[in-house]
């Protein structure tokens, strides 16, 4: 019995969520009275995870340089079998959710996504996961001989541990099913998936020409930019920025909604964020019921002032 944790990396560097996942891994191993092993793939700075309490850290060297779901799933299935893993821990990134189903299928493993905390019981293994786009939680039991837990973002505290983690390298051969023809990646910009702060604009901003206001605020905060559905439908912003029930989910520390009314479908997708701030001219806008802090005011006056003050503070 052991726990295997897959820490993602991108272009050789660990992704941001890997420390939270490792902290969860340690707590889980303690709870299950066992040890845990961290696996990385083509990662150059895996040793950064050496002080999170894992007994072992295995970096797999694979020929495919970039993420390829089938190859990754095959490699992880192999190592999980070799390490006799009973629980596999993965994150909630687009890549993790892409690969998770394939991995579960290969291992005939039980699998749950969007898990929000440590198991509430061990026999049977029971976890709480978020369902209905954050409108409810489901306490779910898992009955696989192996089970995969997909952890939501931003649900577990990051705690490092003094540990004697050994680091190994292993070569793996796997075959990919997809060939990458091209890749377009925004360099150095925070993404909705892993930013601590997301600044989001709605129809209240009147038009794409005003998005400088959103971008300026995002810049001082190191935040990612997002938008409501109609804003992307009208082509003011790319679809990739659409957040909500039918867009991207947001589970960040701070979500700032500007000129967004707070329709049920929008809130469903952003409610998992810790602190929500709304700026809206209409005090009756439903977003005020879901937010922690609110300003009843005109975005065109409030945003420049807020950006200015934050800049002065920095």
């Amino acid at each position: 019995m052991s726990i295997l944790l897959f820490a993602e990396s991108q272009q050789g560097k660990l992704k941001k969520g890997s420390t939270e996942l490792s902290s969860y891994g340690f707590a889980l191993a303690k709870q299950q009275n066992t040890t845990f092993t961290i696996v990385t793939i083509n990662c150059e700075d895996a040793d950064q995870l050496a002080n999170y309490g894992a007994s072992k850290l295995i970096n797999l060297k694979m020929e495919t340089k970039h993420f390829e779901a089938h190859a990754y799933a095959t490699a992880l299935a192999e190592i999980a079998t070799k390490e006799d893993a009973k629980i596999i821990l993965i994150g909630s990134s687009a890549d993790a959710k892409y690969m998770g189903g394939i991995l579960a299928g290969k291992l005939q493993a039980g699998y749950v996504t969007n898990v929000v905390g440590l198991p509430t019981s061990n026999d049977p293994l029971t976890v709480k996961r978020s369902v209905f786009s954050n409108k409810a939680f489901a306490n779910t039991t898992l009955a696989g001989a192996i089970n995969i837990i997909g952890l939501s973002n931003n649900v577990h505290e990051e705690i490092s541990q003094d540990s004697s983690t050994t680091v190994e390298q292993q070569d793996v051969q796997t075959t990919a099913k997809c060939t990458q023809a091209s890749l377009e990646q925004s360099e150095g910009k925070a993404t909705i998936a892993d930013a601590d702060v997301v600044v989001s604009g709605g129809r209240g901003l009147k038009g794409p020409e005003n998005w400088g206001l959103i971008e300026d605020l995002a810049d001082v905060l190191g935040a990612a930019t997002a938008c409501s559905k109609p804003v992307s439908d009208m082509g003011w912003r790319p679809h990739s920025e659409h957040v909500g029930q039918t867009g991207k989910p947001v589970a960040t520390n701070l979500y700032i909604a500007v000129g967004i009314s707070g329709a049920i479908q929008h809130l469903a997708g952003v409610n998992a964020s810790k602190i929500k701030v709304v700026i809206n001219t209409d005090p009756e806008a439903p977003f005020f019921k879901a937010a922690d802090y609110g300003i009843v005011g005109d975005a065109f006056e409030v945003l420049p002032k807020l950006t200015e003050k934050l800049k002065a503070r920095a």
Partner: protein, 279 residues
Amino acid sequence: MNQPTYYELYKLLCTHNNLKIFFIFVFHLFLMKILVCISCVPDTTSKINFKENDTVFDDQGVQFVINPNDEFGLTRAIWFKEKVGAFVDVLHVGQASADPTLRKALAIGADKAIRIDTPALDAFVVADQISNYLQANPYDLIIAGRESIDYNGSMVPGLVAAKCDIAFVNTCVQLEIDGSTATATREMDGGMEVLSVDLPLIIGSQKGLVEENDLRIPNMRGIMQARQKPLEVVTAVESLAKSAIQNFEKPAPKAAVKLIPADDIDQLIDLLQNEAKVL
């Protein structure tokens, strides 16, 4: 005038009733076959409540619709049908209560609906049923959604891909098919990736695959035609669930919003920094 597409040619030839059977046979040999997997979910405006001691979703007064992610995929499938020629079947694993939703899929252009008659206990049961169906009924392209918006599993297409050992492209926002290869654009965190992959392929579709205003509303003609189209009910194979929901919980009620005057931005910054500790 453009050259007629295979589909137009097919439609034209099929008006000759005695030739129809023959041509359906011939076209089956070289038209792409697409299967769209559909989950029926509560309409996005539904109130989420539970009954029987919070163990069962309360569907009283809830309207069920085609899962939005599946609807984007279905719309792209119908686009293929009309532009290059394809057979589009829709499949649902579940009970008869889903039949009206399947009829809607037929009304907006699918050719045939299949319902595998068993409660969709969890993603593993659903994936087992779909995979089993695919073994006996091969398709070139299988379209599922990135996730169903009720249980948010994001599991079914990956499970099917592994079980059938076929390629899978998730969060697919663009899809072109040329012969036996597909070019699919995948949205990832902070970027896009274009993948080239051989058919058969399963995709996880989402918004972007088609535009919002490409979505179709069934018209009278479509609804009438849908009544004539086949809805096959297939017996399920045995399969075991690997997960079970014990009970549901609602999130704790939120404290009231703290309102800050629009001319006191300093206060907002102070609260975010010292109270919420997020700056």
